[in-house]
C-alpha cells in the first residue's frame, strides 16, 4: 500500500544542515496498522508527513497504491490526499469557528459532492465515532476526547484507504486515549483501513500490528 524506498530528508539553513531521516525503507501492507515510535526529534512526524505527501523527501522514492507520486503536480497531490488519505493530529486541528458538522464536512468540500451528500456522509461519520448528538456544537464546547473523535470523523468522512495519525492520544488521558485507540482499531478491523500511527505511548503501540522504532532518523526496529 505504501512503499518508502531509501528516504532521506535534510533540512538546510545557511549555516546548518540537519539530517532528519536517514535512508528509511518501509513497506506497509494494505489493511495493516503500523505504529512508529521513537524519542522526540527522531524524525517520526517528518516520516509521517512524507507518507502523507505534506513534505517532500530530499532523496528516495515513495509509492502509494502503486502510484509514484514524485512527479505529481500540487493539484494532483491535493486530489490524491483528499481521496486516499485521512489525517489525525495530536492537537486535533479543528476549525474553532465552524460547528462540528461543518468541520467534518471539510474534506468533502474539495470534492464535487452536493451539500446534501456532504451532510449525510458527515453525520454518518460522526455517528461512527459516537458524536451524533454534538453536530451543532463548536469545538470549544467539547472535551479533548470528543474533539479528537471529531478529528477522526473528519479523517474518515471521505472513506480514505489510509489514515495517518500523529500522536492521536498524546493530548488525552489514558481513558480517553483508549477510547480513541479502540475507534482506530475498529476502523482498521471493520473497514480495512490502513493506519500509520506515530506515538510515544508503548501500550498504544503494542495494540497495533507492527511497531517501527526510529532513532536519529534511522530505523532501528
Amino acid at each position: 500500500m505504501i512503499r518508502l524506498n531509501n528516504i532521506e530528508k535534510v533540512y538546510r539553513t545557511d549555516t546548518v544542515e540537519t539530517l532528519a531521516i536517514n535512508g528509511i525503507s518501509l513497506d506497509i501492507a494494505k489493511g495493516e496498522f503500523l505504529s512508529i515510535m521513537g524519542p522526540s526529534g527522531c524524525g517520526k512526524s517528518t516520516l509521517l508527513n512524507i507518507m502523507g505527501l505534506l513534505d517532500e523527501p530530499s532523496k528516495g522514492s515513495i509509492k502509494i497504491d502503486e502510484q509514484d507520486i514524485s512527479r505529481f503536480s500540487d493539484q494532483k497531490l491535493a486530489r490524491f490526499r483528499n481521496q486516499k488519505l485521512g489525517f489525525i493530529f495530536q492537537s486535533y486541528h479543528l476549525i474553532n469557528d465552524l460547528r462540528v458538522l461543518d468541520n467534518v464536512e471539510l474534506p468533502l468540500l474539495y470534492r464535487n459532492s452536493s451539500a446534501k451528500e456532504r451532510k449525510l456522509l458527515a453525520t454518518a461519520a460522526l455517528e461512527k465515532v459516537g458524536l451524533s448528538n454534538r453536530l451543532k456544537h463548536f469545538p470549544s464546547q467539547l472535551s479533548g476526547g470528543q474533539r479528537q473523535r471529531v478529528a477522526i470523523a473528519r479523517a474518515i468522512v471521505g472513506n480514505p484507504q489510509i489514515i495517518l495519525a500523529d500522536e492521536p492520544t498524546g493530548n488525552l488521558d489514558s481513558a480517553m486515549g483508549n477510547e480513541i485507540m479502540d475507534i482506530l482499531i475498529n476502523l482498521n478491523k471493520n473497514e480495512g483501513t490502513t493506519i500509520v500511527m506515530v506515538t510515544h505511548d508503548e501500550s498504544m503501540a503494542h495494540k497495533t500490528h507492527r511497531l517501527v522504532r526510529l532513532f536519529d532518523g534511522s530505523q532501528v526496529q
Binding site: F87, D97, L98, R154
Partner: protein
C-alpha cells in the same frame, strides 16, 4: 464552498468587524468622490452653448450719469455707436450683471398652468447679446427692438427650461406667467443651454429678457466681442474712452480669464478632496493588506489542515481572496443602502443618474482594491508549507 465561506465569515463576524468597517468607510468616501466627479463630468461633457473667446466685459460705475431716462437712452445709444465704430470691436451689448462667468446671480420664478418653476436664471440683455456670445437658437427667434412695445413681454428661454415647462412640444409663441402669474410673457424663441457658471456647472433653467430704457439706470456692464489684434494698447485706449464717457471707475475683464477663475472654484476643492481621499484609500489599502496578512498568519494551522485534507495551493489562495470579496460584498450591501438614499432624496440637487453611476464605479473600485490587497497575502498563503503550518498552534 461559497456557503462554507459565508458560514466561516458569519461565525467570525466579531473578528471581521474592523475589515467590514474599513470597507464601508472607504466605499462611502469613494462614493462621495465619484458622485461629484460623475456630476462634474456629466456637466463638462455637455456643450458650452456660447463662445467666450475674445469677449471682454466692461464694468463701470454709473453714478455720474444723468438720471433723465431719455437722456440716458441717448447716452447709451451714442456709447454703443462709438464702441461699434472702433475697428477692434466686432459686437457690443449691454447686460445685467449676471452675464456668464460673473459672480452675480439673478433668478426669478415662472408659472405655467398653476405649476411653479423656481430658480430660473434671469438675464437682462441687449439686442446684440446673442451675437456677442454666438448663442445658438434652437427654435423661434431672438429679440428685435420692436418686441419692447409688444402687448406681452417677449422672453427667450433656454432648452432646459423649455423641456421643463413645455416638454417636447414647440414653445415658440406660447405664453407663460411670471412668478405670481400676474403677467403673461410670450416665448419668442429657445436657445441652446448656456453653461454660464463654468464648465462643470449645469445650465439650469434660464430665461432672457430684453433690456429696455427703464433698466438703463441699473446697467453697469457692457460686453464686447473684439477682433483679432485687440491688444493691451487697445485695452488701454478703451479704458480711457470708457472712463471719460462715464466719468467714473471702469474695470475691463477678459472672459477667458474669468472662465478659468470660475472653473477653479470647482476644480481646486475637487483636487483637494481627491488628494485627501487618495491618502485615505492608501491607508485603507494598507490596513486591508495588514488585516489579511495578520489573518493568514493567525490561520496558518487552518491553512495547513486544508492543504492536508485536499486543498491545493491555488484553492487556499482563492479561498482567502473569496473570503475578502465576500466581506467586501457585505460592506458594499450596507454601503449601497446608504448611498441609494442620496438619489432617492435628491440630495445636493445632483441628478440621480450621477449617483447611480457613482455607486457602480465605487463598487467596482472597492472590489478592485480588495482584490489587489488580497492577491499577495493569498499568494503567500498558498506558499505556506503544510507540514510546517500544521505544527503551528
Amino acid at each position: 464552498m461559497f456557503k462554507h465561506l459565508f458560514k466561516l465569515i458569519w461565525n467570525k463576524r466579531k473578528q471581521n468587524f474592523l475589515f467590514l468597517s474599513e470597507i464601508l468607510v472607504s466605499f462611502l468616501v469613494i462614493f462621495a468622490v465619484f458622485s461629484f466627479l460623475t456630476y462634474y463630468y456629466q456637466n463638462y461633457s455637455k456643450p458650452l452653448g456660447f463662445d467666450y473667446k475674445k469677449v471682454w466685459s466692461i464694468y463701470y460705475e454709473n453714478g455720474e450719469l444723468t438720471k433723465n431716462r431719455d437722456s440716458l437712452a441717448i447716452f447709451y445709444e451714442n456709447l454703443n455707436k462709438s464702441l461699434k465704430s472702433m475697428p477692434q470691436i466686432e459686437e457690443v451689448t449691454f447686460s445685467s450683471g449676471n452675464f456668464p462667468y460673473s459672480d452675480s446671480f439673478m433668478s426669478t420664478g415662472l408659472t405655467q398652468n398653476g405649476k411653479k418653476f423656481n430658480m430660473v436664471s434671469h438675464f437682462v440683455v441687449g439686442t446684440d447679446y446673442k451675437k456677442v456670445w454666438n448663442v445658438s437658437l434652437l427654435e423661434g427667434r431672438w429679440f428685435m427692438p420692436e418686441d419692447l412695445v409688444s402687448k406681452n413681454k417677449g422672453i427667450v428661454i433656454n432648452e432646459t427650461l423649455k423641456k421643463a415647462v413645455f416638454g417636447n412640444t414647440n414653445a415658440t409663441g406660447k405664453l407663460i406667467g411670471d412668478y405670481d402669474d400676474k403677467e403673461k410673457m410670450k416665448v419668442l424663441g429657445v436657445v441652446q443651454d448656456v453653461k454660464s457658471n463654468g464648465d462643470f456647472a449645469p445650465a439650469g433653467n434660464a430665461m432672457f429678457v430684453q433690456l429696455d430704457s427703464g433698466y438703463y439706470r441699473d446697467t453697469h456692464n457692457i460686453l464686447i466681442k473684439v477682433r483679432e489684434g485687440a491688444d493691451a494698447n487697445f485695452e488701454s485706449q478703451l479704458y480711457k474712452f470708457m472712463a471719460t464717457s462715464v466719468k467714473n471707475a471702469v474695470e475691463i475683464k477678459h472672459l477667458d480669464q474669468m472662465r478659468d477663475s470660475k472653473n477653479g472654484v470647482t476644480i481646486i476643492p475637487m483636487v483637494i478632496f481627491i488628494i485627501i481621499a487618495s491618502f485615505l484609500i492608501i491607508n485603507v489599502a494598507l490596513g486591508l493588506f495588514g488585516v489579511l496578512w495578520y489573518n493568514i498568519n493567525k490561520r496558518k494551522a487552518e491553512i495547513g489542515l486544508r492543504r492536508a485534507i485536499g486543498a491545493s495551493g491555488n484553492s487556499v489562495s482563492n479561498q482567502l481572496i473569496m473570503e475578502a470579496m465576500i466581506l467586501a460584498t457585505i460592506s458594499l450591501i450596507v454601503g449601497c443602502f446608504f448611498a441609494v438614499q442620496f438619489p432617492l432624496m435628491s440630495v445636493f440637487n445632483i441628478p440621480a443618474s450621477a449617483y447611480f453611476i457613482a455607486i457602480l464605479l465605487s463598487v467596482i473600485f472597492i472590489y478592485v482594491l480588495v482584490l489587489l490587497c488580497s492577491l499577495y497575502p493569498g499568494k503567500q498563503a498558498a506558499a505556506i508549507h503544510p507540514a510546517i503550518a500544521l505544527h503551528e498552534e
